[in-house]
Every structure is written in structure tokens, then in C-alpha cells.
């Protein structure tokens, strides 16, 4: 289902935490809402789920405004911090489906298939409160997917998981969403996670939408300097506006935009050598060609940004 947020303002006390003129999210796709901590991402998800009442504005579904109470019945939201009632994992999944009015036989069928797919079949009889971080996130995800809601909302689905557990869930998540969910909006602070999971990306900074579109567009051509900086680009003041260079966009030698870099360190990683330094105070890492001599630490060297990668933002 297509979603439109129009004229949306959310206030906590005096502070304006969300201020969205118009935001369109397309149905049958995975949209990642990307932004740093405190940008208002979770609040946006709660507004969509009908759990937070905006001070003004409306949420339209397929063109028609839908009140919060109705939206609650259309979404499956998994929280960043998984919450369970006391009881087993199975009891938690069953309660969720029961509250949504799913008949008994179907509940059992859904729980088995989702648990199997999410890799928690062995955990179903364990007390939900006793799960480890990774297991709890999987159970949290399984509960949301079992609901088979028209709109699935995931708040930092990989929160609290590290290392191999994170990598394996990240690898499986896209497939799980394709199999069990229809329209998905997920929230993350990690551009890498967004690029691997989503079709579309919304960049939210300080409660405002800075970028919105297919991920290839947003990641390749960030629309403003703040978005570029958040996505890891090096943003430098230039004549008539900011110049932004994507990660890995600097070289020694060749044609393009030239910058002076102060050398802070030379890293020899065996298979490659990297020069770490700063351009006008912004940290930059540049690969050193195999034959080139290492520059002295503290010296200034010239680096080049490939012109086709560079974005310019006029003031």
C-alpha cells in the first residue's frame, strides 16, 4: 500500500521532533528510513503505526486519510527493544495472533512456518524473557512477520546484535521480508544496512526529510551536503558552495578536482597501503599506488577527486 505523510508535525512538549511537508512511500517495496540517533525515525514509525498522535497532519493510505485507530490494525511493528509478555516464545507469538483474531489452526500453521524461516523453531518452548539479544531480535521479527500485516514496520531490526549473529540475520532478512511481508518500512542508523535491505531510502535528519527515493539515486547523488555528510561523503567548502566526495573517491594523481591533504599516518595493511589525513579538517583516507613512495607524516600532499563522482551543492 502506498503511504503519504502530509503536513506532519510531532511535538514532544515544546520541541518539534518531526516536521514533514510531504513524504511518499511506495507499496510492495522495502523503504529504509535512515538517520542518526535522535533524528525522529522511531517517532515516524510510531506515527505510521498509529501509536503517536501528531500535532498536525495526516497519514494517507492509497490516497485516503486513515485514522490512527484503523492504522494500528493494518501494521505489524517490531520495536527496537524487543518486549515480550512472560511465557514462552510460542505463547508470545500466539498471543499476538490471537489478539488480531487469527483462528487457532491458522495460528499454529503460521507460527511453525515463520519460526522455521526465522530460525527460532528450537526456541519456541523457551521463556521469551530468557533469550539472548540475537535470539530476542529474531523472535521479535518472527512475531511481526507472523501477523502478515499489509504494512510491516521494523525499528532497527538488528539492534543489540553483534558479530556473526548480525551478519547472518542481515543476510537472511531481505529474503524473509520478501517471503512474509508486503510493504515494509524499516528504520536504521546504518547506511550499509539500508543499502543491503531496502529498495528506497528516506534520509531523516533532525526531524526533516532530506532525501527520498530509490537507494541508487540517494546514495549516488545525495541531494544536499548534510545528507552527503551523513552517508559518509567528505564535504568540503568550495567556491560558490560545498563539494562532496564519496567514500573512496580520492586518488593520488590523475585528472579531477585537486585538494591539499595533511598526512596524519600511513597504514601498511600488506595487500594495500592507505594514507590517512585531513582536508580542511575533514578526515580522508586515500589508497597509495603500489610503486609510489610513502609521503612523510605531517607533510602536505595533493590528492584528486574523480570529477564524475563529485557532487556540488550551491549555497
Amino acid at each position: 500500500m502506498d503511504l503519504v505523510l502530509r503536513g506532519l508535525e510531532v511535538r514532544f512538549g515544546r520541541s518539534l521532533v518531526l516536521d514533514i511537508g510531504e513524504l511518499r512511500l511506495f507499496g510492495e517495496r522495502v523503504t529504509a528510513v535512515l538517520g542518526p540517533n535522535g533524528a525522529g525515525k522511531s517517532t515516524l514509525l510510531r506515527v505510521l503505526a498509529g501509536l503517536v498522535r501528531p500535532a498536525r497532519g495526516a497519514v494517507l493510505i492509497d490516497g485516503a486519510p486513515v485514522p490512527a485507530r484503523v492504522r494500528r490494525g493494518l501494521v505489524a511493528l517490531s520495536f527496537q527493544r524487543p518486549v515480550f509478555v512472560s511465557g514462552t516464545v510460542r505463547e508470545n507469538l500466539d498471543l499476538a495472533l490471537r489478539l488480531r483474531g487469527v483462528p487457532r489452526q491458522e495460528r499454529e500453521a503460521r507460527i511453525s512456518s515463520v519460526a522455521e524461516a526465522c530460525g527460532i523453531a528450537e526456541l519456541l518452548r523457551r521463556p521469551a524473557r530468557a533469550l539472548s539479544g540475537g535470539e530476542a531480535q529474531r523472535a521479535n521479527l518472527a512475531r511481526a512477520l507472523a501477523l502478515q500485516a499489509p504494512l510491516t514496520l521494523l525499528d532497527e531490526p538488528l539492534a543489540g546484535i553483534d558479530g556473526p549473529a548480525r551478519r547472518s540475520l542481515l543476510a537472511e532478512l531481505r529474503g524473509l521480508l520478501r517471503r512474509f511481508a508486503r510493504s515494509v518500512v524499516l528504520v536504521t542508523h546504518d547506511p550499509e544496512e539500508a543499502s543491503r535491505l531496502a529498495d528506497d531510502v528516506v534520509v531523516l535528519l533532525e526531524g526533516r526529510v532530506h532525501a527520498c527515493g530509490p537507494k541508487s539515486e540517494v546514495f549516488r547523488r545525495p541531494p544536499d551536503a548534510a545528507t552527503a555528510a551523513f552517508l559518509g561523503w567528505t564535504v568540503l567548502p568550495g567556491e560558490g558552495g560545498d563539494v562532496a566526495v564519496p567514500p573512496g573517491g580520492f586518488r593520488f594523481g590523475g585528472d579531477g578536482f585537486r585538494f591539499r591533504m595533511r598526512v596524519d599516518a600511513v597504514l601498511d595493511r600488506g595487500y594495500e597501503r592507505l594514507v590517512e589525513g585531513a582536508i580542511a579538517g575533514s578526515p580522508v583516507t586515500v589508497p597509495l599506488p603500489p610503486s609510489a613512495p610513502a609521503p612523510a607524516v605531517g607533510s602536505e600532499v595533493e590528492v584528486v577527486a574523480l570529477p564524475e563522482a563529485v557532487e556540488r551543492f550551491s549555497e
Partner: protein
């Protein structure tokens, strides 16, 4: 020494199943137990609402509840006395100097404790818990049941605090019950009576038995809490 004599006398009274002691101890448990149960029945839903509902004056109500947790029993007793005394507004019910009046007075004492502890226990649940239930479409009664069930460890604290307060209070029981032998005498009022007669060993003996009763009830509740908390 009278303290030691009191302990010995307590053992003797229990050993010979003293009928006077049995009568007073049983009434104590009955009166304080019913008052606590009534306070739970009324106080748990009120505490839940106080923790979850947002209404103007909520802070004032919460402050009143917290103050009520320290309400001197004798004041509660005095108010109930004036309401239920023959000439009072509810005098026609004929409840003054009956165990029922004592239950009402102890209910008033226990209620703020149950409300306060329940509200604190519910408020300490993560906000996502109520959001989850709202998102899943649980109705208000279902939500209350699931929430209170989740806060049950805090509710045990509420029972212990409420029961502990009423089984050990003397002012209200004395004022509305009148300490009538065989009818409204409970352990605390019996202790006061024995002490005023100069029967210090007997007073201590009753005190030891009161403590033992409180200990036993709390032990049962605490083991329940430990088992469920695991």
C-alpha cells in the same frame, strides 16, 4: 527478665493451643486479610489507571496517594468512626464496634499502599509493552489484565506492604472496634490492653505471636515472588 518470660509464655500459649489466643489470632488474620484482599480488588485497577491514564490533576492524585501511604491509622480510624458511629451518616448500618468496621478502616489504610505500589510497578514496565498491546488491538480490559500480570512482582510488594501495615496497626482497630473481648479484639489491641494492665510478659508473648504471623504470611508471599521471579 520480662522479655524472656514473654517469649517463653508465647511458646506455652501456642503449645497448649490457648483458646483466647486462637480466637484473637484468627480474628486478626481474618480482619487484616479481608481488608488487604478488598484493598487489592479496588486498588490494583486504580493503581493501573493512575499509571496509564493521562488526565489533569494526575500529579495531585498521585501525591495524595503517596501521602496516604503514610496515613496515621488513628486518623483513618477516627474518620471511619465518625462516619459509622450511631449518630453518624452511616450509623443506621450498625457497624460500629464490629469486625466489619475494622475491615473498612484497615481497607482505608491499605488502599493507598496498594494503589501506590501498583502504579509504580505498572509505570516501571517499558513503554513498548503498552504500545505492543495497543498495536495488536487488545481491548482495555485485556490490556489491564496483561499489564497487571506482567507487573505481578510489584503487586506482591503491594500485598506485603498493605498487609504489613494493617496487621500491625492499633489506632484504627481500637477506635472503630473498641477492643471488645470475643468480638473485636485483635492481637495489637490485646497487646495494648495487657501492657496497660501491667501484664508485660503476656503483652510480649502476644507481640511475638503477631510477629510470627506476619513473618509466616510474608514468607509465603516472598517464596511465591522468588519462584515467579526466576
Amino acid at each position: 527478665m520480662e522479655l524472656w518470660e514473654g517469649v517463653v509464655e508465647a511458646v506455652r500459649m501456642v503449645a497448649r493451643a490457648d483458646p483466647y489466643l486462637r480466637d484473637v489470632a484468627l480474628r486478626t488474620l481474618l480482619v487484616s486479610g479481608s481488608a488487604t484482599l478488598l484493598a487489592m480488588a479496588v486498588g490494583v485497577p486504580l493503581g493501573y489507571l493512575l499509571a496509564r491514564a493521562r488526565f489533569p490533576g494526575r500529579t495531585v492524585v498521585l501525591t495524595a496517594v503517596h501521602t496516604g501511604m503514610g496515613l496515621p491509622p488513628v486518623i483513618a480510624g477516627l474518620v471511619i468512626f465518625l462516619l459509622f458511629v450511631r449518630s453518624g451518616p452511616f450509623g443506621g448500618l450498625g457497624l460500629i464496634y464490629t469486625p466489619q468496621a475494622m475491615v473498612i478502616a484497615q481497607f482505608v489504610i491499605a488502599l493507598p499502599m496498594v494503589v501506590g505500589f501498583t502504579a509504580a510497578a505498572v509505570a516501571s514496565l517499558p513503554v513498548e509493552f503498552s504500545e505492543l498491546l495497543a498495536m495488536l488491538g487488545a481491548g482495555p480490559l485485556r490490556t489491564m489484565w496483561l499489564t497487571v500480570r506482567e507487573a505481578r512482582l510489584g503487586l506482591l510488594a503491594a500485598v506485603m506492604a498493605g498487609f504489613g501495615a494493617v496487621i500491625s496497626e492499633v489506632g484504627a482497630s481500637m477506635t472503630v472496634g473498641g477492643n471488645l473481648a470475643g468480638s473485636t479484639r485483635v492481637l495489637t489491641t490485646a497487646i495494648v490492653l495487657e501492657a496497660s494492665r501491667g501484664e508485660h510478659a503476656r503483652a510480649i508473648a502476644l507481640g511475638v505471636i503477631l510477629l510470627a504471623l506476619a513473618l509466616a504470611v510474608n514468607f509465603i508471599l516472598t517464596s511465591f515472588q522468588q519462584r515467579r521471579g526466576a
